[in-house]
Amino acid sequence: MAKTMEFKRPDGRKVNELRPISAKVGVVPNADGSAMFSFGGTIAIAAVYGPKKMHPQHQQNPEKGTLRCNYNMLSFSVSDRIRPGPSRRSTEISKITEWALEPMLMIGNYPNQVVDVHINIIQADASTRCAGINAAAMALAHAGIPMRGLVSSVSIGKLDKQLVVDVDKHEEDWEEGEGATDIPITMTPGGDITHLQLDGKITGKQLKEAITLAQGALKQIYEVQKKALKESVKL
């Protein structure tokens, strides 16, 4: 544990410290549900439309409702402008987001229907998919979609040998020692993992530690999400 104290993060955070997080519900009046979630310089907004009839018709599932997520970065959300439109990366993140959220959704009773979740990254400083998932979970709850609960997402990083919570862009590009390993994790409040990815190099032992570390951070995120949702229904 002594090592934990020594490690200096570029922005001076403690290894288990999140960037300032904020959340707000109801940011898109047209939507059935919507939310904003931010980790420091990363800002995501999500809007939910549905349940509504699935279009195109051949994608309708007569057995249960479908969740359809769409992750998109605004062209000016990063230093080097991104060409607008879908990419291989955004397509994958969209699918990953669906998988992260689906276990908590109870849309079995909506045959042939779709719930659309549109996630847009307005400002990016790493962990955009996690911010997107957090916003999406809140937007779904705000839309009144039947759910078992929220999910919360955070990215755990390994910088050289040190595990840290909520990596920013600067840390993502860490080059010293063993370099950077990025581990986005999404969990239910009950501690079940609905999404886990990893890029980098890490031992099994440390990965287990990373998951434990994530739990503490996710608890904080969950509280912020819950608070924002409660505030939105205040009369």
Binding site: N30, A46, N72, L74, F76, S77, P84, H118
Partner: protein, 266 residues
């Protein structure tokens, strides 16, 4: 969820009495709110709200080759996306006509007014110039995205900063800025769109009102009253008298809007 004929008729009847559902005058804009620096990786960015309509506009700078016909001038590219996030009517997919039209109307409003001093965006004649991207995204579509987007483009360009450029390496040092402002002239363009519904002409429609318009005319002009871009849209014809009226109505609305924009620019 398009607006029904019944509602459309009611809107038209109301307008005949000089009334709108939300109590505004026919030539009155909704409340305009401009918020700056909403995205810190952009060289300039704003959020514009017109009532419930909301758009984000960001300016990004790149370095590119000049076009052969303007070797000493920078390039401008305006794109607009009507996000599926912003309305239940929008589906994911390649840009449809409304988004293309939106981008082009905003582009011409900026370009034709000579608001951007393109010659100052030249780095090395014939080889390297600044490429300016103005990207518009709808966040909530409650009508009149075009005027909101045009205001946003002007506001974002007005606060845009010039990133440093390492000529030897040919690299833009994003996040580091020169002391110079983005090169603009005094010709600030304002775009106002007039919509014809029945015998009446209105400004800044809500989505319901926009849905039932028969024809629209987008006019871009500078504060001194010179019109630099114009486009009539939709398939109903407009009489000369109506067109003259539209020119007058938009001019009045433009002055009001300009006063509000000036406040932001200060």
């Amino acid at each position: 969820m398009e607006t029904s004929n019944l509602t459309g008729r009611r809107i038209a009847e109301y307008l005949d009495e000089g009334k709108r559902f939300d109590g505004r005058g026919l030539d009155e804009f909704r409340e305009l709110i401009i918020e700056r620096d909403i995205s810190n990786k952009a060289e300039g960015s704003v959020r514009v709200r017109l009532g419930k309509t909301e758009v984000l506009v960001g300016v990004k700078m790149g370095v590119a080759e000049p076009y052969p016909d303007s070797p000493n001038k920078g390039n401008l590219m305006v794109t607009a996306e009507i996000l599926p996030l912003s309305s239940p009517r929008v589906e994911i997919g390649p840009p449809k006509f409304p988004a293309i039209e939106l981008g082009r109307l905003v582009d011409r409003g900026i370009r034709e007014s000579k608001f951007v001093d393109f010659e100052k965006l030249c780095i090395k004649e014939g080889e390297k110039v600044w490429q300016v991207f103005v990207d518009v995204y709808s966040i909530n579509d409650d009508g009149n995205l075009v005027d909101a987007a045009a205001i946003g483009a002007v506001a974002a360009l007005s606060i845009a900063k010039m990133p440093k450029y390492d000529e030897k390496e040919g690299k833009i040092l994003y996040g580091e800025f020169t002391d110079e402002n983005f090169p603009l002239t005094k010709d600030i363009p304002i775009t106002v769109t007039a919509y014809k519904i029945g015998k009446n002409v209105i400004i800044d429609p809500t989505l319901e009102e926009e849905d039932v318009n028969e024809a629209k005319v987008t006019i871009g002009a500078t504060a001194d009253g010179y019109i630099s871009s114009l486009q009539k849209g939709n398939s109903t014809s407009i009489s000369i008298k109506e067109m003259e009226n539209i020119i007058d109505v938009t001019e009045k609305a433009r002055k009001n809007l300009f006063a509000k924009l000036e406040k932001f620019l200060k």
